[in-house]
Symmetry: D2
Subunit: 449 residues, 4 copies
Amino acid sequence: MRSLNEKCAVVGIFDHPEASKLAYFSLHALQHRGQEAAGISTGDGEKLYTIKDRGLVTQVFDTQKLNTLKGHMAIGHTRYSTAGDDSILDAQPVFARYDLGEMSIVHNGNLTNAKEVRDALIKKGAIFQTYMDTENLIHLIAKSDQHHLTDRIIDAVKKIEGAYSLVFLSRTKMFAMRDPHGFRPLSLGRVGDGYVVASETCAFDLIGAEYIRDVEPGELLIFEKGKAPKSIKVFEPTPKHCIFEYVYFARPDSNVYNQNVYEMRKAMGKALAQEQPIEADMVVPVPDGGVPAAIGYSQQSGIPFEMAIMRNHYIGRTFIEPTQEMRDLKVKMKLSPINDLIRGKRLIVIDDSIVRGTTSRQIVRMLKAAGASEVHMRISSPPTTDPCYYGVDTPDKEKLIAANMTNEEICAFIEADSLGYLSNEALLASVNGKEENYCTACFTGKYII
Amino acid sequence: MRSLNEKCAVVGIFDHPEASKLAYFSLHALQHRGQEAAGISTGDGEKLYTIKDRGLVTQVFDTQKLNTLKGHMAIGHTRYSTAGDDSILDAQPVFARYDLGEMSIVHNGNLTNAKEVRDALIKKGAIFQTYMDTENLIHLIAKSDQHHLTDRIIDAVKKIEGAYSLVFLSRTKMFAMRDPHGFRPLSLGRVGDGYVVASETCAFDLIGAEYIRDVEPGELLIFEKGKAPKSIKVFEPTPKHCIFEYVYFARPDSNVYNQNVYEMRKAMGKALAQEQPIEADMVVPVPDGGVPAAIGYSQQSGIPFEMAIMRNHYIGRTFIEPTQEMRDLKVKMKLSPINDLIRGKRLIVIDDSIVRGTTSRQIVRMLKAAGASEVHMRISSPPTTDPCYYGVDTPDKEKLIAANMTNEEICAFIEADSLGYLSNEALLASVNGKEENYCTACFTGKYII
Amino acid sequence: MRSLNEKCAVVGIFDHPEASKLAYFSLHALQHRGQEAAGISTGDGEKLYTIKDRGLVTQVFDTQKLNTLKGHMAIGHTRYSTAGDDSILDAQPVFARYDLGEMSIVHNGNLTNAKEVRDALIKKGAIFQTYMDTENLIHLIAKSDQHHLTDRIIDAVKKIEGAYSLVFLSRTKMFAMRDPHGFRPLSLGRVGDGYVVASETCAFDLIGAEYIRDVEPGELLIFEKGKAPKSIKVFEPTPKHCIFEYVYFARPDSNVYNQNVYEMRKAMGKALAQEQPIEADMVVPVPDGGVPAAIGYSQQSGIPFEMAIMRNHYIGRTFIEPTQEMRDLKVKMKLSPINDLIRGKRLIVIDDSIVRGTTSRQIVRMLKAAGASEVHMRISSPPTTDPCYYGVDTPDKEKLIAANMTNEEICAFIEADSLGYLSNEALLASVNGKEENYCTACFTGKYII
Amino acid sequence: MRSLNEKCAVVGIFDHPEASKLAYFSLHALQHRGQEAAGISTGDGEKLYTIKDRGLVTQVFDTQKLNTLKGHMAIGHTRYSTAGDDSILDAQPVFARYDLGEMSIVHNGNLTNAKEVRDALIKKGAIFQTYMDTENLIHLIAKSDQHHLTDRIIDAVKKIEGAYSLVFLSRTKMFAMRDPHGFRPLSLGRVGDGYVVASETCAFDLIGAEYIRDVEPGELLIFEKGKAPKSIKVFEPTPKHCIFEYVYFARPDSNVYNQNVYEMRKAMGKALAQEQPIEADMVVPVPDGGVPAAIGYSQQSGIPFEMAIMRNHYIGRTFIEPTQEMRDLKVKMKLSPINDLIRGKRLIVIDDSIVRGTTSRQIVRMLKAAGASEVHMRISSPPTTDPCYYGVDTPDKEKLIAANMTNEEICAFIEADSLGYLSNEALLASVNGKEENYCTACFTGKYII
C-alpha cells in the first residue's frame, strides 16, 4: 500500500573470516530498504565471487551458497524495484572485468546526470547491458586514464552527480564512498578485527558490530589488509541529507546521520502537537510508521495514546475477489480498528506522510465505519509535493495529491474532519537540523542539483 | 518463540451465495489461531465438498479451489500443530459418510474424556484413522440410536467432556454447538441474508458481517434454509470461559465473551500498575502482545509509554549459523531495542506471560546490553503454573518455570531487576468477571473437569 | 494422452534394517503404476509410522522423512488418481487404530462389492472418511469376532469380492494377501536377510532382491520375525490374471505371473504378424509401449523395424496456445516422425491398444503429413470393448471406440489405410495361457464376478 | 550421466504476428541442446523486449510473459551450462544499448580467439560483465567505425574466429550469420508469411514451418520488413561441419547439413557391422542415443535387434543413499536390462561414444549381472581422443579415456568381451562426406583453427 520506497541498502565487510555471513545478516537487518532482489560479492584476495537473485535475503541465500562466497571481504545489496520480469538483470552487485582486473560494486542512490554520462560513454563505444545508473560508474572507472584504482574512482565520481553511497571490491581492497552531499546514509563500524559499512546502524546491532562514525559526505574510505582504513576527502562536504530517512525510511532502532530515528520521529510528533493541536479523545498511530510520532504527540498534548488500529501480520497474497459485503478489504486485510475503543470517540490519527491520498481515505472511512465520531489526520512531515531524484521511488508529480490540491481539498478528499501537516521549519528543528544541511526537495521542490 | 498456542479457529457460513469465499476470508482473519493447516467444507444441499491441506489459508486456497467448493453453506478451520510430517491427516474439517448421509465437522477445543470414549468405541469395533479428538464425535453421532441428526448430536455431546466449539454441516443444514462451560469463544453474526459463526468477531469485521450475540454455553444452533436459526439448550450453561483468550490468544480488535480484548488488556495493565508499581523512566511493551497492557500501565502510572523494542517484520526462516560476535541472534532477528532511547534508563517491560522464561531472559539481556540501567519485568497475568487440557498447547508442567520456581527465583533466572505478576483476583476484576465464570486453571490448577 | 491407467503399486519389506529405504526404491521402480500420490508405513515392533502425500515418490520423500520412518518392516504404495484436489485424503497406506492396536494397509485392485459392504457397515454405525474401497477392509477387520488378526484378515477377505493384492502391517507382523483370482500381480522375493513383496519384479532388480515365487491367488502370507513366512491357503486358487498387465501396464523388464513382459509382448507382435499380415516397407512402433511388439512383428514378417516415431523427453507442461500453423501440436510435443525416413513409404504402425481413437488418429495424420504413402495400424491386443472393474481406470463404455464402432468404422475414424487387431485366442497363446486362467473382460465383456 | 554436451540452440522468427510464441515452441523442440537456461528477445519495430532465466523453456515462460514479449520478430536461446549459481548472468539473449540504439543477440558455438579479442577490448577500456564469448561481439559491433549495422556486423565477425551460428535483433531488422566453416548447423525456413532460422529442423516441424535451405557457411542473412531476405557472402565458405551433430547431438528427426540424422546414424550402424562384425545373439542399443545405429547394425548383420535395455522415464532426483544390496544404482535408476531376454545370451551393445568409460563399465556390469554370457561393445563413432573448442562441453583430455588408453585397455576397463569403434573413414562415408568438409577434431585432433 505504501507509495514511497527507498531504493536500496548497501553493506560492506572487510577483514573478517566469515565475511559473507556477516554481509548476509547485515542485509537481513536492512531488508526493509528493498525486498525485490539481493546479492553479495566476496573476495579472497585472488578472485571475486558473486551471487544475486530475485527474492528476500533469506530466499536468495542458504548455507551452501554462502560457503561458495569465499573470502575475508564482502559487499551486499538489497533492492526495491518497479521493473518487470527482467529485473534480475538489474540486481546488484554489478561485477565487471576490466583492464585492472575484476571489480564489484553496490550502490544506494540515484545519479542525476546518468543519461548525459551514458550517452557520452555510448558515443565512445561503450555498451550498456542493464538499466542501472551504476553501470556508468564501472565504465568511468574502466576508461579513466589513471593507473591506480583509487585515482580512477576519484576520477569517476568527479564525473557523476546525484546521490551515491557506494561500496566497491577490487581483488584485494574494499572502498566506500559517499557523495559530497551525503544524500543517503552510510555508517562505519568495527566487527571482530575487521570493519563494516552499512546504510543503517541496525545492521551493526544484529551482527554485534560497534559504531565508529558516519562515512563523511565526499569521503572515500580505502580498506586494505593489515592497515587502518585510509580516508581521502575527495570533495568538500556540503551535507544535504535526505530528511525522509528520518520521516519514514530508516528503521527506528537505527542511528542515521548520527541521531536516533525513533527519537527524531517522537520529536516530530511533539512539534506536530504544538503546530497542529486539536481537542480529541485519543492519539492513534497508523502502524507501524506512525507509532513514534504518535507517542510524541500524545506526550506533548497529554491526550492518551491508543493503539486503536491493529496491524495484521498474516497477510500473504490473496487474489480472491471480495464479496459485496466487504468494504475496504485491501486496507482491512492489513489494518483493523478496535471498534469498541473508538466508537463515539474523537481520534487524532498520526501518519508519516500522504502520497496519493487513497490509503488515507480508506483508513478514515474504516475508522468512521467503526464508529469514530471525528477523525483528525495529523502528518508528521510537510505535504509531499515533489518527486525525488536522489534514490527514492516516487510517483509522478501529477499523482502526488499535495502537488495538486490545497490542504482543504486533501482533507475533503480523504474525508477527514481536519488535516494538519508539520511545517518544514518544525521538521528541521525536530531533527536538530538547518535547512542548508538537509535535502527537503520532496516538500519544497528545492533541488540542489 | 511463543510457548503457548491456541489450537484452532472455526467458522461457519450459512445461506450465502459465496459461502466458500466468506469462509476463506473469515479464516484469514483468524489465522493467528493456527498456521499449520487450513480447510473448508461446503454444501450445496446435495453434496459436501472438502479441501484441506498444510499451510496458511492463502497458501491452501486459490480462486479455482474456492470455486470447486460449491454451495451456500461452508465451515472452515485453521490449525496449530506440534505434530510431524503426517499432520495433514489431522487437518480439519473431518468428513465422513455414515448412515444418515454425509457430514463434515470442525472443532476448536480439547475433549478431556477422549481416550475413554475412544477406547469404548474401539471396543465396539470402531476404527480411528487420525489422532484428533474430533473423530470421537463423528463416531458417536454415527452410532447413536436416534433417528434425526439433531437428536444424535445431542446424544453425542452428552457423552463427551471438555472444551468444544463445534460447527457441523449435514447435507442441508448447519449446526453450531458450544460446550456447557463455553471454554472457547464462539460468536454469531449476520452477513448478507445469511448467518456466520466464528471463533472471534474480527472475522465478522473483515467480511462485513454484523455481530448478533455469542452462541451460549451448552447451546445448539440449527441453521435451516428459509428459517431463523433454531436454538436448543442442550445443557444448562455453567460458563467457565478461558481467561487466557483475554490475556494473549484473541486479537485485540475482537470481542470475546462479549467484551473487547484490547480494552480488557488495557485494564489488566492498569491493574498491574496498581498492584506492581515501581519507579522508572518508561513503560515498554514486548511487542505485539504486551502493547495494550503497557498502554494501560503507562496511563495508570503516569510513566511514559515508549515503543523501545521494535518488532522486525521481515523474518523469514534462516538456517545460517551466527558468528561469535552475534549474541541473542534469535531474539534480535525478531525484536530489536532502540539503543539511544533506553541507554541509562530504568525500564518497566510489560509482557503477557512467562512460560519457560528463556525468551524473557533473552529480552532482559538484550535490553541490558543496549544500556538499560534497570529492567523491571511486569506480567499482565498471574504465574502460569499449570498446563491446559481444554484446547491450548502448553508445555509439560516441569517446563513451566512458574510451576518450579518462586517469583524471586524466576526474577533471578531472567536476570531482571524486579518481577511482578498480576494477581488472579485483579485479572478477574479487569475482565469484569467472577472466578466461577472463568477457567483460570493455568494460573490456579483448579480444573473444572 | 494415455486413456487406460493402472491404479496402483504395492510393496512390502520385512526384516531389513533399512526397510523404509528399500520401500522407497521399490516404489520408485513401480512409479509407472501411479504418479499422483505415494506413501510408506513402517513399524519397529512398537509403533507404526506413516508418511503419504501427493506427488512422485522422489517428491514425497527425502532423507529426513525416510529416517523418521523407523523400523525393520515397511509397506508402500503409489497411486494413480482421477480425483480432484482432495485426493490426498485418498492416498495410501490407510492407517487405523482399532481394538487389536494399530494397522496399516496398502491395496492394489478394486472391490466389486465395495458399495454393498460399505452400506452394510454404515448401517451398523461405521463411518467412512475416504472414498477408497480399502477402507472397507479395515472396518471388516476391526469388526470381526475373531481374536487373532490372522483370523480376522481371513474373515474380512471372505466378505469382499473383486481384485486385491494387499500388504498389511500390524505392530509386529507383515501380511500379504492376493485375491483367489490373482487379478493383479504380487511377487515374493528375498532381500538381505529379509523378504520383499511387490507388484512387479522390476522393484526386486533395483533393490538387489532375489525373486522367489509369486504370492499365490488366494494365499495369505504371514511374516514374523525370526520365522520363515507362513502360508495359509485362504481360498482355492482360480487364477484370472489381468492380461492387460502383459499388453500394456507392466514394465518390460518385469516378470509378471512368472513370465517376462517384454517377451510376451514380442510374442504378441509375432502373432499379430501372422494374423494381420500386410505388405509394407517398415514396421514402426508407437513408443514406448509398442516397441517390443513391433520388434516381434518385424522378426516374424521380415519387414524392417524402424524407430520412425521419436519420443520427446523434455515435455513439461505448457499452457501456451498453438498458432494456426501448428497442427497436431499436442501429439507432436510428445511424438515426432522422422520425415525423410517415412516419406513415400508404407508403414505398419504397432500400438498396444486403441481406447478412444483420438490419439491414434492424430498419429496417423501426423505420419501422413510427414509423407507416409500408407499407414497400416496394427494393435497387439483385441479391441477394447468393455470397462475394467478390477483396478484399472477405464473410460465409460460409450467412450470406448471399439464398443461403438466396427473395425472398418474405427479404421475410417483414425484415417488409417488398414487396421488389424490381435485375436483374443492369439493373445492368450502368446502368453502361454488358457482362457480360463486370464481375465480378458476388457476385450470380451466376460466378467468373472 | 552424459559427458559430452552441446552448448546451445538458437532460433529467430521474422515477420510473424505471434513471433514470441513461435520462438517459444521452437526452443521447446530444441530443448535437448541445453536445459539450464532459456531466453527470448522480441522487437516491435520500436523497442526490444527480453526475458531470460534459469530453467527449461516451459519453466521460464508462461502466457503472461510471452504476451509482454511484443512484436513481429523474436530470437531465442537455450543453454547448457557447467557454471555455478551465478549462471543466470550468462543466459542469452545478450541485450545491449549502444550508439546505434539497441541490439540483442543469441549465439551457438565457441570463439577460439575470445581471450585475445577480450584482452584487446579491455585494454581499450571495455568492461565485461559476463563470462560469455558472445559479449565480445557486441563490443566489436559497438566500437566499429562503420555507420551501418550491417557493415559493423561484417566488421565484427571478421575479427573473431571459431564457431558461431548467430541471430541478432536490431530495432527493425533481424540478422543471421554463420561462421565460414559452418561448424554448427543453422537452417532457414518459412512460417506463415514470415521466416524462421533455427539450429535444427525439428523446430520447423513443431511450428509448422517449411524448410528452405541451410544458412551457408560465411553467409549473413538480413531480414527486413516487406523485403525478401538479403544474402551477403561475408566469407568464402570452407565447410567444416561438426560431425558429432550426426553422431549424438542432433535429434534423429532433424535434418542437419541437409541430411536426416536418423538415417546417418543408421548408416553408421551398418558400417559398424561391416567393420566390426562379431557373432552374437542380439544387437542391443544403449537407449536412446544408440537406437538408430543398432537398427542399422542389425539390418546389416542379420543379427536380431532387441530393446534389451529399457530406459526409465520417472527418474527425478533422489538424494537417498543406496543400501548395500543395491549395486549400480545410479545407472539402474535410468537403464534396466530385460533379464529373461539376455540370460545366457551374447550381446552386441551399441552406443554412440565412450567419453570417460565409467558409464559403459556400469552398463556392461549390469548386463553381466543380468546373465549375459558375452557383452561386445560397439561404438558408432571413432575413439573420442580430443576436446572440442567449437561449442561442445568436453572434459579435459586427461579424462577422455581414449586419449589415455589403447582400445584393448579400454575394453578391459569397461569389462567388455570385445570393443570395436567405427573408423573415421567409415564415419565420413556414412554421412556422405569428405574429410575436408567436416570437423573431426574430437576424433583426430586435427583442429582447423
